[in-house]
């Protein structure tokens, strides 16, 4: 695609080199992320670390491993909500759950789980539907800080009102307040909700399949990837799903550019839920 572009701008060259350096040194691979968002976030990082250029930031990143964790905070977007897009969770509850009930045990993968909002949402939904006991949720992300927060399950109390409303709109059968205790430190979610959750570090770019899932929920992660990378991740989902397994994406993500789209059928088009076709 570079043929019709003018000579690369200096900062674009520097960004490519910086991403290459981060990959070679730390194995975090952002090289094929959609660049517009990465660039905006690296501008913020460059200013935060008081570097005049991305080359200086690269120098810092290579020689001071301590800043990597902070840099990851810039390179990954941690915006999330419990029961985000309530209609998605409603569709899972009303349309996917009846299928899930037919299995003796359930494996669910939340890929790109951020600080756990989506994981706790699904855990609550499964409990409400009486499926929790037979389910195992695998929650993965590349950001260790986010995974740590997810495991802690503490969310700031000023977010609870939104979460409560979302939960209700998603068809919640209980009160969200049944699941947390609020104090000055925030809302601590019931630790038993994560007794069936396994948090782990996993990259959709560089890591391998997870076996025989019944449901994979990967929301608002693929938009940060370019088309090829989206395809890699979708291939990974296809290979990780069991027969007739379900895949749920974010409200602005779809399989339409994917070469793997043939392996899936639309299950709930508006909610971006897909079902893997039987082999």
């Amino acid at each position: 695609m570079t043929d019709d572009l003018p000579v690369a701008k200096t900062d674009d060259i520097e960004i490519r080199l910086l991403l290459e350096a981060i990959f070679r040194k730390y194995h975090y691979d952002f090289r094929n992320y959609a660049i517009a968002s990465i660039k905006r976030r690296l501008v913020q990082a460059r200013d935060h670390f008081r570097c005049a250029t991305f080359s200086q930031l690269q120098d810092k990143a290579l020689h001071d491993p301590a800043i990597l964790r902070e840099l990851l905070g810039f390179l990954t977007v941690q915006v999330s909500e419990m029961f985000r897009d309530p209609s998605y969770f409603k569709a899972i509850r009303e349309k996917v759950v009846p299928h899930l009930r037919t299995y003796p045990s359930l494996k669910i993968w939340v890929a790109g789980c951020s600080s756990g909002e989506e994981v706790y949402s699904l855990a609550i939904l499964l409990r409400e539907e009486g499926l929790e006991e037979k389910a195992m949720i695998y929650a993965t992300d590349i950001n260790p800080e986010a995974l740590r927060k997810a495991e802690a399950g503490i969310f700031s109390t000023d977010r609870i009102q939104q979460f409560t409303q979302n939960h209700r709109l998603s068809g919640g059968k209980s009160s969200l307040s049944d699941y947390y205790t609020a104090d000055y430190g925030g809302a601590q979610f019931d630790k038993t909700l994560r007794s069936r959750v396994l948090f782990s570090d996993h990259s959709l770019v560089t890591d391998a399949v997870f076996g025989e899932m019944h449901l994979i929920s990967c929301r608002n992660v693929l938009i940060y990837f370019d088309r090829d990378l989206q395809d890699r991740a979708i291939g990974l989902f296809r290979d990780s799903l069991g027969r007739k397994g379900f895949l749920g994406l974010g409200s602005k993500e779809s399989l339409r550019f994917s070469k793997h789209s043939d392996a899936f059928a639309d299950f709930s088009r508006d909610e971006r839920l897909y079902q893997k076709l039987g082999a």
Partner: protein, 192 residues
């Protein structure tokens, strides 16, 4: 008729309060065979269904659609940012959407569209700041002009809300400050 060499590569438009009225003057003027893509950010509440697409399509000859992630940007189509997502242009001239934090309380943000488009299109870009009650778009218009592109700003005295075009005109003295009708005529000529 502008020749191929001077035809802009793309047009980006930002509008806030009063957007529907202003876009209803501009977009219907563009002919079906328009040769330039148009990308539009309107500040809309996050949970609202995007009625704007249907309302504008009913009046327009060019195709109006909600932007989808990784769409290839095509001439003669106007892409509107979906509520609650930033609309960005990739260097490959594909659209990318993002959930990144709101910028100056806005998602979608006009600055984000303008800055990423300035990066992707350089001098071939026209940026247009219309009515609005905040100052989103001025930084972005500055970036467009700094990259060699052109800036158009709605005349604040004629705008439904004055703050946004006023801020843009102040940040970008090089921009032409025009009435909606003149902006429509300018864009029509530039891409026909």
């Amino acid at each position: 008729m502008a020749d191929a060499a001077t035809k802009p590569a793309a047009i980006v438009i930002g509008a806030s309060a009063g957007a529907l009225g202003a876009l209803s003057v501009i977009l219907p003027e563009l002919p079906a065979a328009y040769r330039v893509p148009v990308l539009v950010v309107v500040h809309v509440p996050p949970d609202r269904n995007n009625m704007m697409v249907d309302l504008l399509q009913a009046k327009s000859q060019i195709r109006i659609c909600e932007a989808e992630d990784k769409d290839s940007i095509r001439p003669g189509v106007a892409y509107l940012a979906p509520p609650d997502y930033h609309l960005q242009v990739e260097p490959t001239h594909e659209i990318s959407l993002s959930n990144d934090e709101a910028v100056m309380f806005s998602r979608p943000s006009i600055d984000v569209l303008f800055e990423t488009a300035a990066d992707a299109y350089g001098p071939g870009l026209i940026g247009v700041v219309l009515t609005g009650g905040n100052s989103d778009g001025s930084k972005g218009l500055r970036a467009i002009i700094d990259a060699g592109g052109q800036g158009l700003v709605q005349r604040p005295d004629l705008a439904f809300a004055t703050a946004m075009p006023q801020a843009a005109a102040a940040a970008c003295p090089e921009a032409q400050v025009l009435s909606l009708e003149d902006i429509a005529a300018y864009l029509k000529k530039a891409g026909t």
